[in-house]
Subunit: 352 residues, 4 copies
């Protein structure tokens, strides 16, 4: 299955990094465990590790923006207060959040036997259309698998990890990623997509959703879902600045057409892995670098964020295959040929 | 000069109201005073009145979302706390905010001689490229003119009122408006546009900015500006719900390509004029209607907001004429013929 | 053990309700399960049910204020977005939050078999000084016990339920409650106290902590903890108004001397059970009553909140008995006689 | 007139700085212009300069907390976004905010002739009880007088500057200040007090308000006002950390008894002048020092903030003299002898 760039799409103005993935940021790793069992287990877990050292002992500057808070992500109050992550970021299905958070506590204690308090950060979308969500099938071993299997390099996309059971713009969605680079920075985005109404979908501005709905029907088919957006960068930003980056993540979603319907819990979490903060600072004052906000660098980061998020969403659609789940339900993959025809008709990709 | 609909553009999925303007909402009125004097005064003031009664004695439920707070809008803390406006909304150039706010106090006291406290709400963008902004040429009489001249009916757009000196996507910007309606609601947007980098502009998804920049140059021309978005509706919403609407305003901006650069103060203010709140409530408990949030109505309002904001921005560009200002500077209008050609090439409007 | 009123203390200016407890609010119920096992299990769970009907089908208007977000409370983003609770509120030890949340999902599904999404709200303080916190000994059966055993009437205080292992101002803390009433309203507070430095403690303004530290030592003994504050009322308030109430909860804490040290996760959650919001609203518009904010009622609610929270904290101290926990650690009860002597010396209670 | 320390009061646990004033922080300066004219002009303006260099070219890290947003302070959205002040902080009467802000623009342009955008920060309380507030008598010359006359050294307190017409706990209020120091930091607070109900007043925990009301009557006399709190420190903090400091300001207010009534706009603004941020950073990355948050220093700052704010409020009361204003209204000074008697009775000061 092709990614957006493979089709000739060049979303935005900035160039992607070598992998066009969040793992273009040095030391960022992603791991997936997919659970596809019997007729009704269609779920999984995805782990994003922000750097290669212990996340608790070297905390990662971070901030969140909640575009639509109809969601169950845990861990955000402490991120807002202290401006750091102290665990990897995990993504899963809605009702599995507590079990995944509990496993993340296990994992942290295993590595830091004296920990009496840790703030697990777990995001979610609702895979209940295809998955037996009430069963909460993600167990600790799956969480450990995603964490321990996390790797640099290309990131599997589509119906994988937390994305196994998700729906995006009425088609099969899931995991997508993209990146942008300049001389000065790398920005990467990873999304878990489960949102959007079919006829709203835009690909590089072309009204693919509306035109596909004419062919395929289901204009109003709706994930009734959510989206989790993870944005990372390798330049040093403090939590306030990362909050600014996180708000731009919403603009990237919007370019794909979304209007953030009532039931869609839309969360954006931004981090910088340039300079972790030590758990036990050796001195009373820390020396930190941050981006100077009067220069062009910060606006470049914002632009890169918008573009990487946009492309990550499109990749999540293009890379997701048709999936059959509980009660015989099927979520179709975005039909490639009609999509290409629409993109050509709108001048978004060249005629063959 | 044509509005977007006149060109055959049909942005979004929902139909506009009869005027395709914020004044489609019953009782909403808009007034402009434009100041074009000599070589260097290119500014003005725009007033939005949310209903026809006294705004202080009958307060209007409202909420704001700050996408990028690099701006000088006054009055927002009280709106956040109490969830109401108690003055009309005024828009002007950055450094004129205090003088306009002071005139709004005069205007309120004139109508309510016993008032000892009032919260003027004044938004701004920076018209300093074309205008002698340090001169703060907007005086109380201009404010009164905009307020007293405010009217229902079609709204003047482009380089008018607060929009006289503004720049949008590197072209002349200013005031734009649009609306959406369904069986159940009307949503209107009015924008003051002074934001965006030339090559980012999208019109109905087509990469007009990038392609125009190839022709006209100035890819990086930048308003370094801001945008004020006013969204109104005629269905009853409380302040929390209006905050949800306001956040969707950012998604409408994003559809036109913006990445909310560092220097752009991007504010969205949403109001409902369905049921004003009395200044002196007659009883200890008020009975209020609000939209039920589990039904489709609230998502429809969100979608309408996104679409109306998107179209209002495009109208602000299409309706703004080339303006010469201080130091011989010129801000060109968006060139219509090349724009139409691009839109045709991308299948956004029909060939003639 | 005496409550504050039993000692002759009359904190604040407003009278308490008949039970001087959060259960003075009609239909509010509280349940505790305490876990005291062997040498090292000193923990528990406390449930607050906001009304007598199903909390998912009839949602409770609510809002939170985070005074210090160094804490792991889950469920707040959705409360902020939608302005309602859809589960009971559970309190427990820090690392037990996910398991308690998971049990709350079970409990909800048991009562609503078609639920695919629910937002469990679980607050916490860190009982790791006395308790084997890594063991996460609270199991689903304990959660069900607290929920199903919840009752109207007097509320057990001190080292009970979630309070079993907590420390407050260097002494044994835990659960406390209080209420205030007027002709027009009832306000109740329930706190889980695990915060404060010994020498900061004030009781009805008297510097009990400082003077006790002279006698008992340990001026700097510190719970390094947190506090959870639940405030309820029987007058109808919307979420914005409840946010105002929640912020006043912090003022009540402050009256007892706290300075909200870095490590103390201080969360306040306010609810009104006057008019639940139906899960499936029968119509597109709801009619809601809310307190008129220009009258004295709202300020009375604020005053009542401050006073009830202050007294609830003091009750949590007075009612908690000396507790021995893991590794032979002991947390002493606030010594009553010296405390009474100090209160007499400062004119806070009469001489015997 | 005595300050709190002169009476033998020792509020809190930490020692004050040498002046027990915000000006203990090196380079901080305060200036007042008081306007007392005829029968009805009882107002003024107070300026706080955070350091000795140009505030626009060297911006001061800052953050605000809004305890109760029923107020008209301008400039906060940009402070929230960028985390810096770029003007001095000015305080005045409510309706004078725009004129004072306009004068602050003048003052900035005078010193920086190329400025096209600046964010004036002006706080306010409502002095309309004693003052002809509608007259907005503070003119630009008064603003310049306060700014240019600002000085290090002792700070005039009570009915001075912006405090001329204010009321606190039903008695004459106005300006107060205090500071706290340790080996590692200085924290200073300056308050403009215009809040509180008479019977709520606590001085060092003693129920002075309640007992005075028995003597003097007027239990419910109410400033219906507001409070502005400015907290400064000389240790380097970033904006997120300053937000934490600002929230503690509310706890200091609470120790004096306040319940933050509906009509009281209660704003806290915290700054650090340790390391200003250059307007035109010389490089793309800045190196900044910040307090390490896992050590005791940050909690010490919080404690110092609470204590300095508490004492500043009490100083504002003790130092304010009886003031006669418009329509023959009189606001009495806090009666010293009865207050001392109450403090002695409650063991807060020694018997003579």
């Amino acid at each position: 299955m092709p990614r957006a760039r493979d089709l000739g799409l060049a979303l935005g103005l900035l160039p992607p990094g070598p992998l066009n993935a969040i793992t273009d940021i040095a030391a960022v790793r992603v791991g997936h465990v997919s659970l596809v069992e019997g007729e009704s287990v269609r779920t999984g877990v995805t782990a994003i590790l922000t750097h290669e050292r212990d996340p608790f002992r070297e905390k990662t500057p971070a901030a969140a923006f909640v575009l639509n808070g109809f969601g169950k992500t845990c861990g955000l109050p402490q991120v807002a207060e202290l401006g750091v992550l102290e665990t990897p970021i995990l993504l899963t299905g809605t009702l599995a959040v507590p079990r995944v958070a509990d496993a993340l506590i296990d994992w942290t204690i295993e590595r830091n036997p004296d920990v009496l308090s840790v703030n697990p950060v777990v995001g979610e979308c609702n895979d209940g259309y295809l998955n037996d969500i009430q069963g909460r099938h993600v167990r600790a071993e799956h969480v450990f698998g995603a964490l321990d299997g996390a790797a640099a390099g290309p990131v599997a996309e589509g119906a994988v990890g937390a994305g196994v059971g998700m729906t995006c713009y009425g088609w099969k969605g899931g995991i997508g990623t993209s990146s942008r680079r300049s001389d000065q920075f790398l920005v990467g985005a990873l999304v878990l997509t489960n949102f959007g109404q079919r006829d709203e979908l835009r690909i590089d501005g072309a009204p693919v959703g509306r035109e596909l709905a004419r062919i395929a029907g289901g204009a109003g088919v709706d994930g009734s879902g959510s989206v989790m957006v993870i944005v990372g960068t390798d330049v040093p930003l403090d939590a306030r600045q990362l909050g600014r980056v996180a708000r731009r993540g919403a603009l990237g979603l919007a370019r794909t057409g979304v209007t953030a319907g009532h039931g869609s819990g839309d969360f954006i979490l931004a981090f910088s892995n340039a300079e972790p903060v030590p758990h036990r600072p050796p001195t009373g004052l820390l020396t930190r670098r941050v981006v100077a906000e009067d220069g062009p660098l910060i606006s470049g980061l914002f632009q890169a964020t918008v573009e990487a998020v946009e492309e990550a969403v499109i990749n999540s659609l293009l890379m997701a295959e048709t999936t059959r789940g509980r009660d015989g339900r099927v979520r179709e993959a975005l039909p490639l040929e009609p999509t290409l025809a629409i993109l050509r008709r709108h001048g978004r990709i060249a005629n063959p």
